[in-house]
Symmetry: C2
Subunit: 129 residues, 2 copies
DNA sequence: GCTTGACCTTACCATGATGGGAAGGTGCAC
DNA sequence: GTGCACCTTCCCATCATGGTAAGGTCAAGC
C-alpha cells in the first residue's frame, strides 16, 4: 500500500512516517517502480505501535528501545516494566513541576482584585516586589 | 555592566539575553566603544521579570504581554488576571494530559509481572493487543 | 490522446527555548 | 607583552511536527 493508506491505517501522518524512516526508527520500506514507498500490514502494525507509545508520552529514544523489546521474543518483561516505570517517574516530575507553577499562579490570581485599578500582585511578584 | 554581570544578577544566561534581544522581547542595549553590550539596573530588573515569568511557565508571547502590562502604569489588574487565568487553564490541560498518560501506564505496569519471562501486557497494549 | 486531480517524491524552512562551539576582538593584571 | 577572562557574531543541534514548493505518477473521464 502507499504511504497515505499506511498513514490513515496507523494514525501516523505521512510526514512523520518519512521522518521516522530517516531517523531509523522504522525500517526503510520497499519502493515500487514509481518510486512510491510500499508498505505492508507489518509496517502499519509497527507504526501504530509507535503512535500508541507517543500517545503515552514516550520519547523517540524510548520508543526505539520499546520496538527492540517488542521484536525480541526472548525479552524479559522486567525490562519493559523498568522502561515504563522510568517513564512514569519522568511524567511524575513533569506533573509536579507544572502543579507547582499552577499552585503559585493560583495563589497570585486569588490575591488579585481583577478590577480597573492598576494594582496587581501578579505583576508585582513577577517584578520581584 | 557587561552581559555576564547582567546574566548572573538576573539569572538569565547571556545566550538567552542575546536571544531575547533578537526576538525583540527586551530592548536593544547601549554598546560601549568595545562593542560590548552595556546594561543598567532597569535592564537587569526586566530580565529578572522575564525569568520569573518563564519559571511560572509563561510562553514568550505571554511574557511579551506581561511586560507591556508591567510598563503600563494605567493597566487594569483584570487584564493581568485574565492572562494569568488563561495560563492556569493551559497548565491544567497539560497536567491532565500527563496524568492520563501516567494513569494508563501505571495500570499497565501493575499488570506486568516484571520477571524473566517475555509475556508483558505493556508491550501487548502498545502492539494493539 | 489529453487533461484533471489525487497522490506521491525530495528539499528546505519554521516552530520554542535553549545549549554548544568556532573564530576572533577587548581589556585588565601580572 | 603575554595570558586569561570576557565579549562579539555566526552557525548548528535539540524534539516532534507542520508547511510549502517544485516536480513525478497514475487512473479516470472526455
Amino acid at each position: 500500500m502507499q504511504i497515505g493508506t499506511a498513514s490513515s491505517l496507523s494514525g501516523v501522518s505521512a510526514k512523520m512516517i518519512r521522518h521516522y524512516e530517516t531517523i531509523g526508527l522504522v525500517p526503510v520500506p520497499a519502493r515500487r517502480h514509481s518510486n512510491y514507498r510500499d508498505y505492508d500490514d507489518d509496517d502499519v502494525h509497527r507504526l501504530a505501535f509507535v503512535r500508541r507509545a507517543r500517545d503515552l508520552g514516550f520519547a523517540i529514544g524510548e520508543i526505539r528501545d520499546l520496538l527492540r523489546l517488542w521484536a525480541d521474543k526472548d525479552r524479559a518483561s522486567a525490562d519493559v516494566r523498568a522502561l515504563a516505570k522510568a517513564h512514569v517517574a519522568d511524567l511524575d516530575s513533569r506533573i509536579e513541576r507544572l502543579m507547582e507553577m499552577r499552585m503559585t499562579l493560583n495563589r497570585l490570581v486569588s490575591c488579585c482584585d481583577g478590577d480597573n485599578r492598576p494594582h496587581c500582585p501578579i505583576i508585582e511578584t513577577l517584578a520581584g516586589g
